[in-house]
């Protein structure tokens, strides 16, 4: 119950932080606030019994904040987020999103109760991993056993996504895109 209350307040903090990010003028503050939200998320992960994720989340959040500040904002700190005029067009969207929320709200109430995970009701893969994972792989960290053995194919895909984004960034930022003679012709 304590965990639930703590998560409730952390989530409220994150939502307020998100509103802050959306409405503040100064971009630097918005990015720093994003880092704070990520930190709150990391604490939630820790409370929910996911220490692996808490480490990854906090490290990833540090990297995203550093990338955003160093690579974009320091180039042009004078530009403020000029958001004054978009209010009129944003109202219909806001209404749409609100109606979407109303539409899905009944479904959200029918989700499994918080604290009673659904995997216990079925013969699911999680039961198998928890019961036999250690014997089959020899790895005491079951999450590691899943991502590196049972679902290692996903991990390959994930590494390739990161690889794509590395060479993607390199090739987007290359200085010559087309050959000279073509431009002249």
């Amino acid at each position: 119950m304590m965990v639930e209350i703590a998560i409730f307040f952390l989530l409220i903090f994150m939502i307020i932080g998100m509103l802050f990010v959306l409405e503040i003028e100064n971009l630097l503050s918005a990015v720093v606030m994003m880092g704070a939200i990520g930190f709150g998320l990391s604490v939630i992960f820790l409370l929910l019994g996911a220490p692996d994720l808490a480490i990854v989340q906090i490290a990833v959040e540090v990297i995203s904040v550093v990338i955003l500040i160093r690579a974009t904002i320091h180039r042009d700190i004078k530009e403020r987020a000029d958001e004054s005029l978009s209010n009129i067009s944003s109202i219909p969207l806001l209404v749409c999103i609100f109606f979407f929320f109303l539409m899905i709200y009944p479904a959200l109430r029918l989700l499994p109760t918080f604290g009673e995970p659904v995997f216990l009701n079925f013969y699911s893969s999680s039961v198998y991993y928890l019961r036999d994972g250690f014997h089959l792989t020899g790895a005491p960290n079951i999450v590691s056993a899943i991502i590196l053995d049972f679902r290692a194919y996903d991990t390959l895909g994930e590494a390739i996504v990161l690889f794509t984004s590395v060479i993607g960034a390199l090739s987007i930022l290359r200085y010559r895109n087309r050959k000279k003679e073509h431009n002249a012709s």
Partner: protein, 488 residues
């Protein structure tokens, strides 16, 4: 069955190797071409029956599986063949760009992503490979580095990321209901009448609709597909929106939640509106590649009409139109790229008289537009005819009438292009235009033969049985209830 991982591993290995070879070496082309030809040949040797491959040796309840059946075998072959031709075409076309080996690396990453999507039987695995395919496509759209290309890529990326996140939320909801990620296991456990399932359907249809550019979500497609280099436009329009959007939509609607639980009529009507909006947008365009991209919206609309009917005939028409559109739209983008390559101009009002200067390109363009417009012996005629017949036999005569009307409107693109681009006086700045190199012409000729011959898939009874009917049967079998017990 043992072949299936090769369709992911070989493109990935090729991409990784291509990224470290020297930039200007000739073996970049050789490596890319040989690898893509090998994959194309290999795809014909995949088994024709249902089959499942256990990745890591773990069964459906535990690990990730790959699966093959007549439906995804068909899509797999189409993807390999179009990508092979696009690689071939790139040998000549990409001369104007820098960093060719990395270009091929992205093409192969995209191919690996598409193959992973087509072959997987696992929801989360689908998400991961979808991200590979779409991330590579974002980069390729901005490959030329001009400001409008960057802009198109960024807008495509925003919408693509939103749709991916919708689907990830949908996958999370599926997990919350079934505690399973394997599509067959989840299909067995999910309750179609549950309100959460309704939310899943909404999220998936919105996400897949964005990826496949169905009517209300089509706005990104003309920008993105016209900004990419021509072989990439051919891959994006020809196969990517089909592998990521339409194929997954077919699986989700028919095999996962069941066609009786999906808003099929809505899909059909969205298809009708999409067919109309696409062709109207196309008629108003002056940019050749943008015109083709808009016409893709229209043709995707036809595929959705076929899907939305939900009858075997309609699905056969949708699949045939999928193949036919892959061939004809790739051909058209190749010929548009050839014009851009030689004349360095895409605006059709500034072009003219290219018939004499570029006869092969003219031929390819003519066949492509005839095929897409539905002139009888060509591929588009048979697929549209099938869709119209399906409309009539399903009693949806209004949809059929509108589809026929829009088909005639599509046909009017042919004289427009003929008049503006290929006949008339040659403008002064185009006098020195020459025909494109043969590496760009030959893929166009091959695709022209495909456009001529695809109607045979329907006309030859044994091919029809092996290719179309068996694929439609997979869909008409309905939800995957008990499929897991029949796994060999």
């Amino acid at each position: 069955m043992g072949l299936l991982p090769a369709f992911v591993a070989i493109p990935l290995l090729t991409a990784l190797v291509l990224n470290i070879v020297e930039q200007k070496s000739w073996y970049t082309h050789i490596l890319a071409l040989s690898s893509s030809i090998f994959l194309a040949v290999l795809s014909f040797f995949t088994p024709q029956t249902h089959g499942i491959y256990y990745v890591g040796g773990f069964g459906p309840h535990i690990g990730i599986n790959m699966m093959i059946d007549p439906l995804n075998r068909l899509i797999l072959i189409v993807v390999q063949v179009i990508v092979m031709l696009a690689c071939w075409y790139s040998v000549g076309y990409m001369e104007h760009y820098t960093s060719k080996s990395r270009f091929y690396a992205f093409v192969f990453l995209m191919l690996a992503g598409m193959n992973g999507i087509i072959l997987t039987a696992d929801f989360f695995n689908f998400y991961v490979f979808m991200e590979i395919a779409t991330l590579a496509s974002y980069v390729l759209v901005s490959y030329g580095g001009r400001s409008y290309e960057l802009e198109a890529s960024f807008k495509y990326m925003i919408l693509g990321s939103i749709s991916s996140l919708f689907m990830l939320l949908g996958i999370a909801l599926i997990y919350s209901q079934t505690a399973a990620l394997n599509m067959m296991v989840a299909a067995e456990r999910i309750d179609p009448a549950h309100p959460v399932t309704f939310l899943i359907i909404v999220l998936f249809l919105a996400g897949l609709g964005l990826k496949s550019a169905i009517f209300p979500f089509h706005s990104w497609l003309p920008d993105a597909h016209s900004s990419a280099p021509a072989p990439i436009s051919a891959i994006l329009s020809g196969v990517l929106i089909k592998a990521v959007g339409i194929y997954v939509m077919l699986r989700f609607v028919f095999n996962f939640i069941g066609s009786e639980n999906a808003p099929l009529t809505m899909l059909a009507w969205l298809g009708v509106i999409g067919a109309f909006v696409g062709v109207v947008l196309a008629l108003g365009q002056k940019d050749l590649k943008r015109l083709l991209a808009c016409s893709s919206v229209s043709q995707v609309g036809y595929i959705f009409i076929g899907i939305g009917l939900g009858t075997p005939l309609g699905l056969a028409g949708a699949l045939l139109h999928l193949i036919s559109h892959s061939a004809s739209k790739s051909l058209l983008f190749f010929s548009a790229g050839s014009i851009e390559y030689s004349a360095n101009e895409r605006n059709i009002t500034l072009l003219g008289g290219l018939k004499k200067l570029m006869p092969w390109t003219h031929l390819g363009n003519f066949i492509g537009f005839s095929a897409i417009g539905g002139i009888p012996p060509l591929s588009g005629f048979w697929s549209k005819l099938l869709i119209l017949l399906a409309c009539v036999s399903a009693g949806q005569w209004l949809i059929g009438l509108l589809a026929a009307l829009f088909a005639i409107m599509t046909l009017s693109l042919l004289p427009k292009i003929e008049k503006n681009v290929f006949t008339g006086d040659i403008p002064e700045h185009l006098k020195k235009t020459k025909e494109s190199p043969s590496s760009m012409i030959i893929p166009m000729i091959v695709l022209s033969f495909f456009c001529l011959g695809i109607g045979l898939i329907y006309l030859v009874p044994s091919w029809n049985q092996n290719i179309l009917t068996s694929a439609v049967e997979v869909l008409m079998d309905g939800r995957w209830l008990g499929a897991i017990n029949n796994v060999p």
